[in-house]
Symmetry: C2
């Protein structure tokens, strides 16, 4: 009884989501991309970015805030190592997947491939795309801009987004090195949790709505999230916004829209997807030998508790994936209700296969 | 009397350092690069990486731990957007300057240019090189690996370096956007300062030598620095080590050497320098207009104190530069003694022009 929540097997959830996205108007191929992205994210334990987001994505597709049948094209420099792609307002999953496929092809030719994307939407967990690179033996990087939601002490409004950054690398383990971080110190969810527990929050998490330091989770949640590492996270977020929104020709900073507050409008998000061949300057065997030594060196770190080992980013996600492949993906009851309502609205014959 | 320290005018310091580096065996051109890099760093107020490092660099040159006359060559893919350069054990300033010059040339042709560097040494402040890019209207990125000096709670030894990252972009202001951060929460110097002041340190700064949390600045300084944002900074450091040391064929993690503890040996540091043309997908005028709007939007952030404005990274360095160009660069008395000793040893006719 360690898990009292209802759950769904990952392969049945995959099939269900394919049907759902197709019923919402996506092609079979694009619906498959969306389903795969969602299920992977939940298998890694990143529930904040998995099936929890499906209802809002489907709503946005039905309202045409997300274009269900985008024509994704190169806008510039199609043949070079660095291209601009127009996502035509499509699903972020679909657009970013296409862009990373292109970046990987470029990296095979040039050692590096970068695809900058404009006119896209929320793409879920950034590591979905960097892991496409590590799956084929490459390094991957992915960033996106989002509407402003972080600020510094002394500011009465958010100045920039928590603009996520993901990085991945094959390291000769059953899992890749995979880092997926946002530029806020913590997520809003973590402050809500402190509210529920009746705990104070560290003064590095948030400021109140007037820009003053606070340890009160209610004032913090009503206020502004602080950047991770203060000026460090702020600066990283700024640069991500420049290299995505400013450079792509899309909106940036306050001109970006929230997919929640502006449910009827395309987000016009810009992403940048990069792939690098780590074996470009040595044989593949040499890279594999060296990166295995790198991982082994990390694992050899002497620990306070000798029964423990230093964790490598990506390792925890792998362990959760093993468990969830065996035991299913937990689904909160409210989400079941939302999905059931969508099924009915779309006239779907299939139902969410909970606990089957 | 706001500044009781002795000081040196920046142009006289520049000339003095040119003479000093040349006397130590560098060519006139390379000595000029070293002097320029040093003086710029001090003008920005980054005194930890300015002339304070000159004695150790010169010592290392005299011991041939740093090669005074390196033959810096491409090792692979010289003509492509992404090349490997061999620094031949030269001064980090000289090698990284050469590499960024090459990256900028590549970016003019391909939109992006990356030069990975092996066999280099400590290169000072990473923003020295990213600002070369922003000076010519490009985005710049620079990273380097360094010997392990950060670790996570539960580890009894550092696992990876605080591997610095710098990013720059021209933003239509008298200063570029310029971020230069390391992956530790704070520098060791900040913990020493807490010791002197008799203050406790936050538990996010360091762990003791056994891997346990501590608020004691003595235990923290004798222990291990924590990463900025914990797993966030750790993961960024790991990726920087992969993309520099592992990928270049150079040493990584524990195989890297400290320039202090291994004063007689080359550090064999690897760097990666990247330049990107931000106007690749739009006219230069359009980029300039958009980035000016971006900076203006940041400056329009409503502030708790309406007389203040949101700071952009790079702005503080610019303000310090104006002051120091007028009032000189402060030099600690101990450093004057170290430099004077070097002058004598090298038979330099010129003396450090303090307060002249």
């Amino acid at each position: 009884m360690k898990d009292k929540q209802p759950s769904v097997s990952h392969d049945r959830l995959l099939h269900y989501l394919q049907e759902l996205y197709q019923a919402a108007g996506l092609s079979a191929a694009d619906a498959d991309v969306c389903a795969q992205c969602t299920v992977k994210t939940n298998l890694w334990g990143v529930d904040s970015h998995g099936v929890l987001r499906t209802p809002v994505y489907i709503e946005r597709i039905l309202k045409k805030a997300i274009n269900p049948t985008p024509e994704i094209t190169y806008e510039a420099n199609a043949e070079g190592p660095f291209s601009l792609m127009n996502g035509d307002g499509g699903m972020g999953y679909v657009v970013a997947t296409r862009a990373m496929e292109a970046a990987i092809e470029k990296a095979r030719r040039f050692g590096i491939g970068i695809v900058l994307v404009k006119n896209s939407n929320h793409f879920g967990a950034a590591s979905l795309f960097t892991r496409m690179a590590s799956d084929v033996g490459m390094l991957g990087a992915a960033v996106t801009n989002v509407k402003p939601n972080i600020g510094m002490p002394g500011a009465k409004a958010p100045v920039t987004g928590n603009n996520p950054l993901a990085l991945a690398a094959p390291i000769g383990q059953p899992y890749p090195f995979s880092l997926d971080i946002s530029m806020s110190a913590v997520s809003g969810g973590k402050i809500l949790l402190a509210q529920k527990k009746g705990e104070k929050i560290p003064d590095t998490w948030a400021i109140d709505a007037d820009g003053n330091p606070t340890d009160d989770p209610f004032k913090g949640f009503a206020g502004i999230l602080l950047p991770t590492g203060m000026h460090k996270g702020l600066g990283l977020s700024f640069f991500i916004d420049i290299i995505t929104g400013v450079m792509s020709g899309g909106p940036f900073l306050q001109d970006l829209k929230s997919m929640y507050k502006h449910a009827d409008e395309p987000s016009l998000t810009s992403h940048l997807l990069m792939a690098i061949d780590p074996a470009m300057f040595q044989s593949r065997e040499s890279y594999e030998e060296r990166i295995a030594a790198w991982a082994a060196m990390i694992k050899a770190t002497p620990m306070t508790d000798p029964s423990k080992k230093q964790i490598i980013p990506g390792e925890i996600e792998y362990m959760i994936e093993q468990t969830r492949k065996a035991e299913g993906i937990p689904i909160p009851p409210e989400l079941i209700m939302d999905l059931t309502a969508l099924e009915e609205r779309l006239g779907l014959s299939e139902h969410l296969p909970v606990n089957e």
